[in-house]
Structure formats: structure tokens, C-alpha cells
């Protein structure tokens, strides 16, 4: 028995960062908005308080803040010829759940993509020729430019209070910042974080090598800050429990500390938690959404009619929602036709460990999620790829986020994996090792995609999302090249031993890499190669907007959050100023 509820103006699927921002803007503009969150409500007080919040076993190992994969997970295979199996324990990537979504357990690393990234296909053709890449690589332009998004990046950073140092203010290069960044209209809202010792070692060595180190932009704040919504944040205390954890200090910018206090006071907004959306409902002509159907924690089924439906969940779940709802043509890797699930991309993560003598004391536990020092000299298209045979790159940095005892024990290659020899090596190297992160771009290629699994279903009987993914050769070449450059920095730092660990195939889902899953509902100018238009509006169903990293046509060299935030404000602005005044297609197909 489905209970039909009173119609509202807007229903939002997922109340994480994207959902909170869209809801706040539209509720403030006078629309009746319902936010449906499948997880639990949770707030800094009482849910994120010490000492329980620093329980490494509970949060790091047992992943207490993540999507419950006993009820809902993805299936995985490397290639189309294999049978995908369910991911029964999150390792490679960690989708969150609950109010605030994955943003609650992020690290606060807040980069902008570069102008080049948004026009990657045309810029690559122009610089390296049309035949530079394999036809299997399906990079494409975003349909928006950096200039379109700049005001929205700016707004998002000021919402978060991001701590950093500008490198390019309105075209003028600023000493101490990232000289490769695309021009920003003003500096970061708060000054950069304090530099830790490994960051200082990295900066000195990178400078000597003629590279351009700068402080990592951080949304764990360097000082107290009141954002434009009037919400106050505190300064980070460098406790070393950021990623996989929630912040007890109101110092990490997450929905609970930047916007929910304002949103939840608005009577135009209603938050409903424990609501598992089953599908977006379409009318009989299949050209218009009529609302959504969801099941609450008591197992009751509801239909929530709405004039506008916004999917604002984690990238993978946005893709699945469209597939479950029959919105857009599913992608078929055999023919290359179809769009939903196409251009799934990830992030190509490598690392370098630099082992020092015992008189060099690193104190790795003295860290926040984003207090490192890094370079962009080998990121994006900041270096000439003509002779290299690949595109893309990675940032390289001493950006280690913690020294937590269960998970952090760097040891040199050749160390036994267990037993006395391993224990001795951990004790010897724990406090005398610098880990570099090499955070690489990811190109889409024809066979990598997302679709519905033919076999496995979730706790509500709906097909799981199936991921088919392996690293493209392009990205493995990139990882090898940039990791070699990073090894040079480790040596220049004076390390006794430097171990480079470039990412190698095949992709494995059982080893943590990063939670930067992108694509599957990509944006663009052509309905044949994109699911949503440049305003993140579905080409097929104009009253459905799909917002999140699922819109990225490919992934760049940096963490995606800032770009998701910029896209959110960009799309929200189009909703407020165009769509809701005159509902219909914002771009004609």
C-alpha cells in the first residue's frame, strides 16, 4: 500500500553537501523543499564528540560512517568478460551515508580544477593533435568553462572558509601560492594552515629543484571564521583524525558546520531521514518526472509528488538512481552508444615513501586532513606531454594526513609483512618517514562503465550498480612518469632510502585508494555523449537535475569536492534565475 503525500515544489534525493546547498538556496527563494536522506540525522553535538570520535577500530577499520554495504553496495569486475561480485566490505573507495553524506568524512582538501580541464578534449587536440590519444579514450569537454564556474568556486570556498594562499589573483602571480592555478577573483577566506615539518622538508627540496611548492588549501580552518550564511567555525587543532572521521571541534567545513544550521531553521524545508528512494517516477508519456517513491525505516512505502526532482547523492548513487528510474539511455560499451553509466572515471593514486635516519623526527600524527605542502608542476597539462605519450598528471605533495596507530606504519620494501621483523621495522621507521601522495588524473575509456547488475540486488530488491573498471594505459604511464619525478624530490630531501610506488594495474577494489569516483551522468553540449546539459539538467526529463561528481566527463589531477561545490552553485543559480521562473529545457537538444 503506497501512501501518496502532498505535492511539494522540489524533492531532493540525498542531503549531503550538494543537497544541503540546493535546499538552502531554493527554500530561501520561497519554494517548498523536501530533502530525503537514506541515513540517520547526525550533528557535531552529540554525535561527533570525543573521546568516542577518535575510535580508529570503529571508524577506520569498520568504517562506521560509510554506506551500509550489508544492505546496499556495488558489484565490481575489471572487464566485461568477467562476472562482477558484490563489494562486501568497502576498501578502495568509501561512500558515506547519513545527514551530511560523504562530506562529513572528507579531508578538507579544496582544490580548483584548471581552465584546461574543462575543455580537455579540444585543448588536447589543439596542443598535441587529433591522433595523440587512443580512440578508446573518451575524454570530452564539460560544456562549461572555468570562467563560468569561477564565481561559484569563490562562493563555495567562502561558504567553507577555506584556508590557503592564492597563486594567481586576477591574472597576477602571487608569491607563495600555486603559480599554475587559473585566475581567482580574490584570495582564500582564511590564511593557510601551519606547515608541518615534512611539508617544510618538501618545500625546501622542491624549491631547490626549481619546482613551485605551495600550502595545501584546507577546509579544516586555520583560524575561526564566520561564513556568509552567518555560521561560525573554529580553528583546527591538528588532531590527525580527519578522513574517515567526523570533526568534534566545528573546525572542518561540512554541512553540519556551514549550512545545515541555517537550512534546518527554514520552514520551507523539511528533512526526512531513513528514507530509501526507490525511483524517480515518470508520467505516462515518460517525458516528465512526477516525484519519487521511497521506503522508510518501518518499511512503509510513500510517493512524494514534486514539480522538480534533484538527485544529489554520491556519484555512484546518482548513476544508479537514473538507471533504476529509466531516465536516459543506458550506455552499452559494445556499441559505444547510450549515455547513462558512460565515462566512469576514478583517480590514479601513487605514492613515494622517503625513509630518514632516526635523528630526523617527522611526528606524522601532527596533521590535519589538509595541512601539507605540494606542487602542481606535474599536474594537468602544466608540463609538455608531446614526447610522453599520455595526457594528464598528478599533484605531488607531502600531504600525509595522520599517524594513526592501526593504519599508519610505513616500512621499506623488503620488510617482512608480519612478525618480529615487521614490528621492528615499524618501530624504527614510524617517526622518520615522509609519505608523498601522488594524486593523479583519470581518463575515461570505452570499456570502463557503470550499469545495473543482472544478478545481485539490494535489501529492497533493487538491482545493484555494477562497476566495470581497469586503469587505462594512459593513466598507468602517467603514474610511472610522475612517481619518478616525486622520487627525485624524496632524494633531494636527503632521505636515506626512497621507495617509489607508482600505481600499477589491474585495479583492485580491495585496497584503499580514494573515494573520488566520477562520471556516469556526465555533463556536456551533446545529448549523444552526455546525460545532462551544462546546467546539470537531464536531456530527457527536463524537471530532473543530477548534481555531483557523476557529472564530470573525466577526472582531473585534484580532489573533486571544490568542483562539485562550484557546479552545485552554478546549477542552483540556473534553477533559481532561469528554470523555476519558466520551467522547461534550459538548452535545446
Amino acid at each position: 500500500m503506497v501512501q501518496r503525500l502532498k505535492e511539494v515544489d522540489v524533492v531532493i534525493i540525498g542531503v549531503g553537501m550538494v543537497g544541503s546547498i540546493v535546499a538552502k538556496e531554493l527554500a530561501a527563494a520561497g519554494y517548498k523543499v523536501v530533502g530525503l536522506e537514506r541515513g540517520q540525522p547526525r550533528f557535531t553535538v552529540p554525535d561527533f564528540q570525543g573521546p568516542a570520535v577518535h575510535d580508529e577500530l570503529r571508524f577506520d577499520i569498520r568504517k562506521a560512517l560509510m554506506q551500509d554495504n550489508t544492505r546496499e553496495t556495488v558489484t565490481f569486475r575489471n572487464h566485461g568478460s568477467e562476472t562482477a561480485l558484490p563489494v562486501r566490505r568497502w576498501e578502495s573507495f568509501l561512500p558515506g551515508t547519513g545527514l551530511g553524506g560523504s562530506h562529513v568524512h572528507w579531508n578538507g582538501q579544496t582544490y580548483r580544477f584548471q581552465a584546461n580541464d574543462f575543455e580537455l578534449a579540444s585543448k588536447t587536440r589543439a596542443r598535441y593533435g587529433a591522433k595523440f590519444l587512443s580512440p578508446e579514450v573518451t575524454i570530452q569537454d564539460w560544456g562549461v568553462t572555468y570562467a563560468d564556474l569561477e564565481p561559484h568556486y569563490d562562493r563555495f570556498e567562502y561558504l567553507l572558509g577555506t584556508s590557503g594562499k592564492a597563486g594567481n589573483l586576477r591574472g597576477k602571480i602571487q608569491p607563495g601560492g600555486d603559480p599554475f592555478e587559473s585566475p581567482r577573483s580574490r584570495d582564500y577566506p582564511t590564511p593557510p594552515m601551519k606547515e608541518h615539518y615534512q611539508g617544510a622538508l618538501f618545500r625546501k627540496a622542491a624549491t631547490e629543484l626549481g619546482l613551485h611548492p605551495f600550502p595545501q588549501p584546507s577546509s579544516n580552518l586555520s583560524q575561526p571564521y564566520t561564513n556568509p550564511e552567518g555560521v561560525k567555525l573554529n580553528a583546527c587543532v591538528f588532531c590527525g583524525f580527519c578522513e574517515r572521521y567526523a570533526c568534534e571541534h566545528y573546525a572542518k567545513a561540512v554541512p553540519q558546520t556551514i549550512i545545515l544550521p541555517v537550512l534546518l531553521k527554514n520552514p520551507n524545508f523539511e528533512l526526512r531521514t531513513g528514507c530509501q528512494v526507490q525511483r524517480i517516477n515518470l508520467d505516462s508519456t515518460k517525458t516528465k518526472a512526477t516525484g519519487v517513491t521511497y521506503i522508510d525505516t518501518a518499511g512503509r512505502e510513500f510517493e512524494q509528488p514534486a514539480s522538480l526532482v534533484i538527485t544529489a547523492s554520491f556519484a555512484l548513487n546518482n548513476v544508479r538512481m537514473l538507471l533504476l528510474s529509466g531516465i536516459g539511455k543506458p550506455y552499452d560499451p559494445a556499441t559505444g552508444k547510450g549515455v547513462v553509466g558512460r565515462n566512469y572515471a576514478y583517480q590514479t593514486m601513487s605514492s613515494v615513501a622517503s625513509f630518514f635516519d632516526e635523528d630526523v623526527i617527522i611526528n606524522p600524527f601532527m596533521a590535519s586532513g589538509a595541512s601539507g605542502t605540494l606542487i602542481n608542476d606535474f599536474a594537468g597539462d602544466n608540463f609538455d606531454h608531446a614526447k610522453l605519450g599520455f595526457i594528464g598528471g598528478a599533484f605531488v605533495g607531502a600531504v600525509n594526513t595522520n599517524g594513526r596507530p592501526i593504519q599508519y606504519h610505513p616500512v621499506p620494501p623488503g620488510t617482512p609483512a608480519w612478525g618480529r621483523g615487521w614490528k621492528q621495522a615499524v618501530a624504527k621507521h614510524y617517526n622518520h618517514t615522509v609519505m608523498f601522495s601522488i594524486h593523479g588524473s583519470s581518463v575515461p575509456q570505452r570499456q570502463n562503465h557503470l550499469d545495473l547488475d543482472p544478478t545481485y540486488k539490494d535489501a529492497w530488491g533493487q538491482p545493484l550498480l555494477r562497476m566495470t573498471f581497469d586503469f587505462p594505459q594512459n593513466d598507468l604511464k602517467m603514474a610511472e612518469y610522475v612517481t619518478a619525478r616525486a622520487v627525485e624530490i624524496g632524494k633531494a630531501m636527503g632521505a636515506k632510502q626512497v621507495a617509489g610506488n607508482p600505481r600499477k594495474g589491474p585495479y583492485t577494489v580491495t585496497q584503499y585508494q580514494t573515494t573520488h569516483n566520477t562520471g556516469g551522468t556526465v555533463m556536456g553540449d551533446d545529448p549523444a555523449t552526455s546525460v545532462v546539459n551544462r546546467y546539470l539538467q537531464s536531456w530527457d526529463i527536463p524537471n530532473v537535475f543530477v548534481i555531483g561528481a557523476s557529472a564530470f566527463p573525466q577526472n582531473a589531477s585534484w580532489n573533486p569536492t571544490n568542483t562539485i561545490g562550484a557546479l552545485t552553485y552554478w546549477a542552483t543559480s540556473a534553477l533559481k534565475n532561469q528554470y523555476l521562473k519558466n520551467p522547461g529545457r534550459l538548452v535545446s537538444a
Partner: protein, 224 residues
Amino acid sequence: MRTLRRLPELSACLSRVACLSLVFAVPALGAVAEKPMPGDAGRGAALAVACQACHGAHGEGNPAGGFPRLAGQTTDYLAGQLRNYADGRRASPVMAPVAKALDAQKRADVAAFFAEQSAPYAAQSVHPTPGQLQRGRLLVRVGDESKQLQACANCHGPDGSGERYAAPYLAGQSAAYLANAIREWKAGTRHSGEKQMGPVVLRLDDQDIAALSAYLESLGEASH
């Protein structure tokens, strides 16, 4: 290959203790770059005579007089506070001349003496209502989301029992002293630890301050 073993010009953060100070942005130590000096409790015993009239023979404090308990706080914390009184980061007509009369070594010595003490708790000076105890316990253990106010326990340990090297214990501390410290941060007259404590205390009203300090003082008695 050039080696970079030590880079003092790059970072003040070479010694383990100085690093910890920076990491936890030690609320009460004020400036953090100064490398703590090891103290000698034996030498400190002789110097402590000047302190004992107010702070008690073993640093048990005098809650009724608002003189804080010193017994068992860390040497670094206590020496840091003496330095703060000496250079005016903390204003006190009583403590300033005492602290100024001690050089850095003597401050460390007397601090080491009190750090080693383990004294019974002095009699409670306040008699909180059940409502105050409940409010105080909530603020110490859980915080108050309506004020975006975190629990004291995040930095000061479970029930204010202290986080060694990072933050002093508050449990069993004189309520009058605690309330005064909070008011000084609120008024902006205390220039040590203000970066961490400043934003927190702004969220406390007079009733919260009374409840919080009374609850914390009551924990001394409870521990017996």
C-alpha cells in the same frame, strides 16, 4: 646528494615536545615555539615556599579563595603559565611579581615540584544545584549543538581529567578560578590560549559558566 637533516629555519618544530605544543595548539601555553626546559623538583621544593600560602603545601589549591590546584599538572603547563604571568600574557597583580622574580630555569624547577605532587582535594567552595550539575556535566561531556559548542572533554580529556602535554586537567579545579579564566578569555584580556579558547568561551553565558565551573570543581570531591 645534499642532506637536510635539520632545518631550524624552516620550522620551529624539531623537538618532540615543541611539536606537540604546536599540534594541539596548547590552549594554556601561549606561545609554542619556546622549547620547554627540564625542571628539577628538588630545587623547586625550596622555591615553592613562596607559592604554598595560597596554593597549599602540596599544590592542592584553595577553591574558596579562587587559588587554583597545581598538583599533578604537567611541568610544561605550569612553567608556561608562570612565563605568561611574567611577560603579561596573563594579567594578575598577585602572580606577576612572583613570576617575574623567577628565571626560566627556576620556573621549570618550581613547576616540576608541583607536577610531582599528589594532594587530596580541598573542600568544595560552591554548592551547585542539581540543575547546574546536570548542565555542567552536559557541557563537559557532550556540548550543546544549539550553540555550536563542543564538549570540554574533546581537548581536556574525559570529564576534564586532562590530556597530558596538550591541555590541563580541569576536574577538581577551583570553580572561582575556572570562571575567572573563562571571563578573561571572553573579555579578551588573556593572551595565552586565546586562539583555541576564545571562540569556545564566546558561546558560554553566565549561567553556563557557573554550571560548568561548579560541576568541574565537584569532580574533585567525587574522585574520593
